[in-house]
C-alpha cells in the first residue's frame, strides 16, 4: 500500500525582547545561573505578573506577517503541572483565546507554491532549565535549577496538518525562520534553543480522508534534523502498519546520535493541564488602529522581496529566493548594486565565493569583514581588465580575510594582470621552446592542445597574464 504523511508543526520561538514577559529581568542568553531572576520569575509568594507590551507587539507582527487575524480580545490561561524548572507550578500561556488565528505561509516545493495554514499563534512564558550532575558527567546525583530562562517570552506557532512530506516541513521551517528574522522578533537559532520545533506526524493510505493516529516528535534541536527526524518517523509508522501493528498516540523523542525517535512512555505524558483563565492578568484588548500601525511598520518580507529582486534586478527566481532568505543577505546585495555593481555578477559572487567562505567558518553575513562596496571595487577592476577572473578569486578571498580593498591587495601582491604584449610574448617563447613535441602535435592538427599551452603560459606568469591576449598570441605563433 502507498502511504502519505500528514504533518503539523508546533514551533516555539523565543522573542527578542530585552526583558522577560512578566517582569523586568533581562533575557540575555548565557549568563551565570540565576543571575537574571527576581521574585516574580522565581515564583515567590504573593508576586504578580505584569505583561510586557513588546511581547504583544512581536506576536501581532508575526501574525500579520503570516496573514493571521489579530484578535481584538484575547487572554492568558494557566497550564498547571509540576516540574522544578517551572517555579509557579503553572505556565502562563494562552489557551481558548490566542492573540492570532487563521493565517498561512507559502512555500515552494518542486517549483510549485503551496500554502500551509497557521492555526494559531499564542504567547507564553518559557520555563527554566534543570541541570543534572549525572548527565553532565559529574560524580554526584544532584540536580540544579537555573531560572534565567524562566519567563522569557515565547510564541507558539501552530500549523495546520497541511504538510505532506519532510521536505515540505523543512521548507516551512526555513520560510518561518526567515519571516521571524526579517521581523526581528526571534533570532531563529535552533541549536541554542531560541527556535524549537515539535512535529505531529501521522500517515494514511493515499486517497484516504481520515487522519491516522498521530505521534508527537519532540527534541528536534537542529535545522538539519527536521527532515531526518520526520523521515525516520514516517518510515517507522509505515513499518508498524505493514507489520499489522497499530500506531499509538504518544510522544517520541528524536535522538540525533542514534538517528531515531524513541517513545517517552510513562507518567510524563499523562498530563491533565487543568487550563483555566489567568486571574492575575486582565484580558488583552487591542484596537484596530494599533493593528494598522503595526501593519504599516512591517518590513518587506521574504516573498515580496524575492519577487522584487527577480523583476527589478533581472535575477533568476532561484537566485532571488536564495538572496532574500536572510534579510541581511538581501541588504548586502542591494548595497552592492547601489554601489554600482552589476546585479547578476554581484549575485554570483555572493552565492558562490561569499557563501562558501561564510559556511566554512560557520559565520553570518553580519559578521563578515568584506563590505559590498569592496566587492564592487573588485568587479570594476575585472571590467577594466586589471585582474582576471582567476586572480579575482584570490583577491576576493584576501578581501574576505583582511577586509582590505581589492585595489590595495592587487598592488601589494603584484597581482595586476599582464597585458603588455612584450612580456607575454616572452612567456610564450619560453613555453614553446620547452615543449617541442606538443608544438609538433598541435601543428599536426591536435587543436585540443591550445588549452595546454595557455595553461602553461598562465602558470609561467603566475596567472597574471591576460588570458585573451595569451590565447590570441598562441594561435598566431603556432599557425
Amino acid at each position: 500500500m502507498k502511504y502519505e504523511a500528514v504533518i503539523g508543526l508546533e514551533v516555539h520561538a523565543q522573542m527578542l525582547t530585552d526583558s522577560k514577559i512578566f517582569c523586568g529581568c533581562s533575557t540575555r542568553f548565557g549568563s551565570e545561573p540565576n543571575t537574571q531572576t527576581c521574585p516574580v520569575c522565581i515564583g515567590m509568594p504573593g508576586v504578580l505578573p505584569v505583561l510586557n507590551k513588546k511581547a504583544i507587539e512581536f506576536a501581532a507582527k508575526t501574525g500579520l506577517a503570516t496573514d493571521c487575524k489579530i484578535s481584538s480580545y484575547s487572554r492568558f490561561a494557566r497550564k498547571n503541572y509540576f516540574y522544578p524548572d517551572l517555579p509557579k507550578g503553572y505556565q502562563i500561556s494562552q489557551y481558548e483565546l490566542p492573540i492570532c488565528e487563521h493565517g498561512f505561509i507559502e512555500i515552494v516545493v518542486d517549483s510549485e507554491i503551496k500554502r500551509i495554514g497557521i492555526t494559531r499563534i499564542h504567547m507564553e512564558e518559557d520555563a527554566g532549565k534543570n541541570i543534572h550532575e549525572s548527565a553532565s558527567g559529574g560524580a554526584g546525583n544532584h540536580s540544579f535549577v537555573d531560572l534565567n530562562r524562566a519567563g522569557v517570552p515565547l510564541m507558539e506557532i501552530v500549523s495546520e496538518p497541511d504538510i505532506r512530506s519532510p521536505k515540505e516541513a523543512a521548507e516551512y521551517m526555513k520560510k518561518l525562520r526567515a519571516i521571524l528574522r526579517y521581523l526581528g522578533v526571534c533570532d531563529g537559532n535552533m541549536e541554542q534553543g531560541s527556535l524549537r520545533c515539535d512535529a505531529n506526524v501521522s500517515i494514511r493510505p493515499v486517497g484516504q480522508k481520515e487522519y491516522g493516529t498521530r505521534a508527537e516528535v519532540k527534541n528536534i534541536n537542529s535545522f538539519k534534523f527536521v527532515e531526518k527526524a520526520l523521515e525516520y518517523e514516517i518510515k517507522r509508522q509505515i513499518k508498524v502498519l505493514e507489520e499489522g501493528g497499530k500506531i499509538i498516540q504518544e510522544t517520541r523523542l528524536w535522538d540525533s546520535n542514534k538517528g531515531i525517535t524513541e517513545s517517552m512512555r510513562g507518567k510524563e505524558e499523562a498530563h491533565d493541564y487543568r487550563y483555566f483563565p489567568e486571574p492575575d492578568l486582565v484580558p488583552i484588548t487591542v484596537e484596530q488602529k494599533w493593528i494598522d500601525e503595526i501593519k504599516a511598520s512591517l518590513p518587506e518580507l521574504p516573498d515580496a522581496k524575492s519577487k522584487r529582486f527577480a523583476s527589478e534586478y533581472g535575477l533568476p527566481e532561484d537566485d532571488a529566493d536564495l538572496l532574500t532568505s536572510e534579510k541581511a543577505l538581501a541588504e548586502w546585495f542591494e548595497e552592492a548594486v547601489k554601489a554600482g555593481g552589476h546585479p547578476k555578477a554581484a549575485a554570483n559572487w555572493m552565492m558562490g565565493e561569499l557563501m562558501r567562505l561564510l559556511n566554512e567558518e560557520n559565520k553570518f553575513i553580519e559578521e563578515c569583514r568584506l563590505k559590498p562596496k569592496q566587492l564592487v571595487g573588485m568587479l570594476k577592476l575585472m571590467d577594466k581588465g586589471t585582474i582576471s577572473g582567476k586572480i579575482a578569486k584570490v583577491v576576493f578571498e584576501e578581501m574576505y580575510k583582511t577586509g582590505k580593498d581589492a585595489e590595495s591587495i592587487v598592488k601589494e601582491k603584484g597581482l595586476v594582470q599582464i597585458s603588455d604584449e612584450g612580456a607575454i610574448e616572452k612567456a610564450v617563447d619560453e613555453v614553446i621552446a620547452k615543449n617541442p613535441k606538443e608544438v609538433e602535435r598541435f601543428k599536426a592538427g591536435d587543436e585540443k592542445l591550445l588549452g595546454f599551452f595557455v595553461g602553461q603560459i598562465m602558470k609561467f606568469t603566475k596567472g597574471k597574464a591576460n588570458p585573451r591576449i595569451v590565447n590570441e598570441m598562441v594561435k598566431k605563433r603556432l599557425t
Binding site: 508576586v47 505584569v50 522544578p84 491533565d272 487543568r274 486571574p279 492575575d280 492578568l281
Partner: protein
Amino acid sequence: MELYRLSISEAREMLDKRKITAKELLDSIYQRIEAVEERVKAFITLSKEKAYEMSDASQKQIDSGRSFPLAGIPLAIKDNMCTKGIRTTCSSKILANFIPPYESTATSRLINNGYALLGKTNLDEFAMGSSTENSGFFTTRNPWDIERIPGGSSGGSAAAVAADECIAALGSDTGGSIRQPAALCGVVGLKPTYGRVSRYGLVAFASSLDQIGPITKNVKDSAILLNVISGKDPFDSTSAPAAVPDFTKVLGNEIKGLKIGIPKEYFIKGMDREIEESVKTAIKKLESLGAIPVEISLPHTGYAVAAYYVLATSEASSNLARYDGVKYGFRASALGGGKDLMEMYMNTRAQGFGAEVKRRIMLGTYALSSGYYDAYYKKAQQARTLIKADFEKAFNSVDMIVTPTSPTAAFKSGEKTDDPLQMYLSDIFTISVNLAGIPAISIPCGFTSNNLPIGLQIIGRHFDEETILKAAYAYEQSTNWHKRKPNL
C-alpha cells in the same frame, strides 16, 4: 492614660500636638500585648525592633513639622502580606521560615505614610477558614470570650484590634475574611471593591476574589487606612485606575433619602433570633436617620456558597502549586524527602500543608480536571455572572444593601472543626460580595445575651465605598456599640 486604647485619628491628633510621642504610644501597646497576648494569641511574629526603628523615624518627621497620616501609628498586619525582612508565614508550616525579600504594595504604602509594624497576625492557613482554627501554629481567641474563636481568616488582626493590641490592622478578605472576624470581635472591617487595593505581595489564595482591607476600632479609621492603601499599582494588573477620593470627607454627611435594600434571601427561617433582631433594629435606626428601607431580591444568592467553593478552590489549587520544596520554604528532610523528585514533592506537600488546605487543593484540582471543568468551574463562573447581575439590578433601585455579617455570633473552639460544610456556611452572607467584586463593611450593631458582638454588613456599588462609609459612620455615631470593650 491608656494610650493603647486610642484610635488612629485620636493618636494622630495627640502625636501632632506633641501631647504624646510615638515611642510612648508604642511602649503602651507593647505593654498591652505583654499583658493580654497570652490569652488572645493574636500574633505569630512581633517585630519590636523594626517597630521602634520605624516609629523613631516618624517621630523625627513629626518633630520637623512634616507629619504623615500614619506617622508613628502602630499597626498589625495579617501574616499573609509580605513584609521585607520580616518572616511571612501565612500560618503555614510550608512557609514557616520564609522571609520575603520584597514588600507588599499595601504595606509599602503604609510605610510611606509613616506607620510602625507591630507584628504579623494569625490567620487560618493561607486564609482558608472562618475561625483561625486552621492556623498551622495555634488558634487565636476571641477577646470577648477566650473559649470562643475570633472568626477568620483574619482572626488575628480582628482580635488584636478588639483587644487593643494595636491601633488598627490590615486583613484580607476572599469570602468574608475581614468582615466575619470583625463582626465576631465587635470591630469595624472593610472589604474594598476588587481592584481598589493592590494585591501585590498578598500571598494569593483565590486571585479573583482576594482583597486587602482595614480592620479598625471605628469607621473613621477604616476610611483613613483606605485612603492610604488604595490606588492603581503598576505591579498589579488587576488593580483599578479608578480615582481615589478622600474617604474621610463624606463622614458626617447626612444619609437622608438614601435607599437601603433589604434582601429577603438574607433573612431566612431558622436564622439566629438575636442576630435577626439586632440587624432589624439597626435598620430601624438607619430609617430614623432618614434612610429608606426597600425590600429587594437577590434571587441567585442560594448558589453563592457552592460557586465560591468551586472558584476559590480552583484558583487556590493552582496558586499553591509553587510550594513544592524546590526554591524556598519547607522541604521534606533528606531522609523523609523521598527517593526521587515525585516523592520529594509528595512528602513536602503532605507534611507542609494542613488538612483544610489539602482539602481545598483537592477540591480545586478536581473541579479543573478535564471532563469536569464544564460541570464545575464553568458552571460556577456562570453562577458568578448571575450573582453579579443580581447586585447590578438591585443597585438600580437602592444605594446600599444591608444584611447581617454572619449568621451566628462567635462559636466555641472546636465546635465546627469536624464539619467543614457547617464551617463554610459561616460565610454565607459575605461570599456573594466577593463574587460580585463590590465593597462591603461590617460594623458592630449589638450584642447577644452572652455578651458576644453582632455585626451589620453594609454593601455598596462598585467603587462606591463612600456611600457605605457614610452610612456606617452615621449609624456608628448614633449608637454606642463600638465603645464597648471586652473585659480581658
